[in-house]
């Protein structure tokens, strides 16, 4: 999907990637990434002969030329910095309100206003970024671990055994997928005795993997039929090594794209669960939790709700444009747009 930036040098053509995959002459690592026929300087079209840039470097250059993706990366870095440095950088305590400063609008000293207890909204947002980003990333890692395992096992068994394992794993995937929206995450998070960010991370991680599993399975099936996998099998290379050394690295491009988009999705999920009262509890701030606190007072003390919401939108937007940029840079044809 194109963002506002990715149009340089394309005279009137539709912007749909027109590259063809030619697998000959490319090194096995990321071989989908090399064959990207984007009409740019011309370096990217050539297969990696001697002296040609490595596929990863070429992909990185394409990413760096995408203005949207660069903007996204800057936002992600800034948010991470604000989160990591919150204990030092935040101007006020997120815990104690300043007496006499309750419900102040934005002003010097309290740049984004204060909440009902006189706590600085900016400081709470910086601390909230810690929870939102950490939960978003951790849940994605958990989903990746499950999704990659399931996808690799299912795809490989679909090609090289009778596919019983594949059928079983895919029905499991369909089952988790059959819970609409954040329903499964809400259910899992509700199991906890006490709401907390940890249970939110587990709930989102356990419910977010079917998309990753499906993409990994499709890629695995494609790659497992390749000649170098046949060669490795005929040499007696153990299955685990084939999966990890020959298949997984080649399936990583679409998975990277999905994972980047999934972080954004999980940040939205964290906000939703916190909004429903299943996440971080007062006094610990999370962006969704701050919106939940603001909900009943939003019409008067608008700053309590506007700024945390903008932080969510901006961060999710950043992960999405970086994910889209990666999709173009790594030449991923199908991406989990539907998930």
């Amino acid at each position: 999907m194109e963002t506002a930036g990715g149009k340089d040098g394309e005279g009137g053509s539709s912007g749909v990637p027109s590259g063809k995959r030619d697998s000959e002459g490319t090194c096995p690592m990321f071989h989908g990434a090399v064959a990207y026929g984007e009409p740019c300087a011309g370096a990217a079209i050539s297969p990696s002969g001697p002296g040609a840039p490595s596929p990863l470097a070429a992909a990185w250059r394409r990413l760096a030329r995408n203005r949207g993706a660069v903007f996204g990366m800057i936002v992600i870095c800034a948010m991470s910095l604000a989160a990591a440095g919150a204990p030092v950088l935040s101007p006020h305590s997120y815990w104690d309100g300043v007496p006499g400063c309750e419900r102040l609008g934005p002003r010097p000293g309290f740049w984004l206003g204060t909440d009902l207890l006189g706590r600085d909204v900016l400081s709470r947002m910086m601390h909230g970024a810690r929870i939102s980003l950490a939960v978003g990333a951790a849940a994605t890692v958990l989903s990746l671990a499950i999704g990659l395992t399931v996808g690799l096992a299912a795809g490989y068994s679909a090609v090289y055994s009778r596919g019983l394992l594949d059928a079983a794993l895919m029905r499991l995937t369909d089952t988790v997928y059959a819970f609409p929206g954040i329903l499964l995450a809400v259910g899992i998070a509700a199991i906890a005795e006490k709401p907390s960010p940890y249970i939110v991370f587990i709930a989102l991680g356990l419910s977010g993997w079917p998309g990753i599993a499906r993409v990994t399975r499709a890629e695995t099936m494609k790659i497992a039929a390749a000649e170098y996998v046949l060669a490795a099998r005929s040499l007696g290379v153990p299955t685990s090594r084939i999966l990890l050394r020959h298949i997984l690295p080649n399936a990583l491009s679409p998975v990277t794209v999905m994972a980047t988009l999934a972080i954004g999705g999980n940040i939205l999920g964290e906000a939703a669960l916190s909004f429903l009262g299943l996440g971080a509890e007062d006094p610990y701030p999370s962006w969704g939790g701050m919106l939940s606190e603001a909900r009943d007072h939003f019409t008067v003390y608008w700053w309590m709700g506007i700024f945390p919401g903008m932080a969510i939108v901006l961060t999710v937007l950043a992960f999405n444009v970086v994910g889209d940029g990666l999709r173009d840079a790594l030449d991923v044809k199908s991406g989990g747009a539907s998930y």
């Binding site: 999907m1 194109e2 963002t3 506002a4 149009k7 539709s14 912007g15 749909v16 029905r171 499991l172 369909d174 089952t175 988790v176 059959a178 819970f179 609409p180 929206g181 954040i182 329903l183 499964l184 809400v186 259910g187 899992i188 509700a190 199991i191 906890a192 005795e193 954004g264 939205l268 906000a271 939703a272 909004f275 429903l276 969704g288 919106l291 603001a294 909900r295 939003f298 019409t299 608008w302 709700g305 919401g309 969510i312 939108v313 999710v316 937007l317 999405n320 444009v321 747009a337 539907s338």
Partner: protein, 309 residues
């Protein structure tokens, strides 16, 4: 074709059994017993024990599950414990009406906004309008529904006073406007992007060149030749989105206090109303799975190449 449909239907059976198992496990893993919640904090241990016995909660979990499954197959969803022993099926039929209206409203909004926006964008790719529309739709995908709801309420409910803030009255369309916009915003954004992408895809085809060479206007080429061919992927998006709008409106219904299925489920979780919870999840999953199946079948019907898979 019939073989394909039969195979896909058969695949749904283990999935739906899996859904009941997972949700049964979750429901029974929730902390606090329904007996305690029902009787309130002042009930004695004996009273709670007696109530648990009466509700059948003291039997082993697999037995309880099989009993539930047995009743489910006969179409009996049990009675709700928190709502005066009303039948779950009665409650859900009432809620389904609200959820269906909301989903239809949201999808109408998404289609009326998203498809024209996508067509206009595809008319001049990378033009000013395209960049604006795609920028807005990108932001739309990234906006939490409940935050959008708060903004809409602030603007249209409080400042302009055009529309009611929350609640539901049967027959009142005004109460459904803001929830529909909230729920449909993400679908509108997805539809706009999909419409644009699939029209641009079609614009590269030979028949478009033919149409142009015959001297048709750009608009005519776009609407009469590119769009019908681009509409096929849109059907999938609309169908599966409609299913998730129907079933995934927990947040929207909660924020706007709409008595639909999503809010029913959310409240059932806090009331530890096992039958109502399970009934909600099972009905939602059945709708979701069957709707996606219907989309696949429709797609295979329209595109014969897919039937062999």
């Amino acid at each position: 074709m019939w073989g394909y449909i039969a195979r896909r239907l058969l695949q749904c059976v283990p999935v739906l059994i899996g859904v009941t198992m997972v949700s049964f496990a979750i429901v029974h893993a929730l902390p606090g017993s329904p007996a305690e919640v029902l009787l309130g904090p002042r009930a004695s241990a004996e009273q709670i024990e007696a109530a648990a016995e009466e509700l059948g909660l003291n039997k082993p979990l697999p037995i309880q599950y099989l009993k539930y499954l047995g009743r489910l197959i006969r179409g009996d969803l049990g009675v709700s414990w928190s709502q005066k022993d009303l039948h779950v099926s009665k409650i859900l039929i009432r809620d389904l009406g609200v959820s269906a209206r909301l989903a239809l409203g949201a999808m109408s909004f998404a289609m009326l906004l998203g498809i024209p926006l996508g067509i206009l964008s595809a008319r001049k790719p990378y033009g000013k309008l395209d960049n604006l529309a795609m920028g807005v739709s990108l932001i739309g995908v990234c906006t939490p529904a409940f935050w959008l709801a708060m903004l809409l309420v602030l603007i249209f409910g409080v400042w302009l006073r055009w529309l009611p803030i929350s609640g539901y009255e049967p027959g009142s369309l005004a109460h459904l406007v803001l929830p529909s916009v909230t729920l449909g915003a993400i679908s509108a954004a997805i539809l706009a992007r999909m419409t644009r992408a699939s029209i641009l895809d079609a614009m590269g085809e030979d028949y478009i060149r033919t149409a142009r060479s015959r001297g048709l206007s750009e608009w005519r080429t776009l609407l009469a030749h590119a769009f019908p061919n681009a509409a096929l992927p849109l059907i999938t998006v609309i169908g599966s989105n409609l299913a998730s709008l129907f079933t995934g409106a927990v947040l929207t219904e909660t924020v706007f206090s709409l008595p639909g299925m999503g809010r029913e489920l959310y409240e059932a979780i806090f009331n530890r109303d096992y039958n109502l919870m399970l009934g909600c999840i099972v009905v939602m999953a059945v709708i979701f799975v069957l709707a996606n199946l219907a989309v696949d079948i429709l797609y295979a019907f329209l595109d014969p190449r897919l039937r062999r898979r």
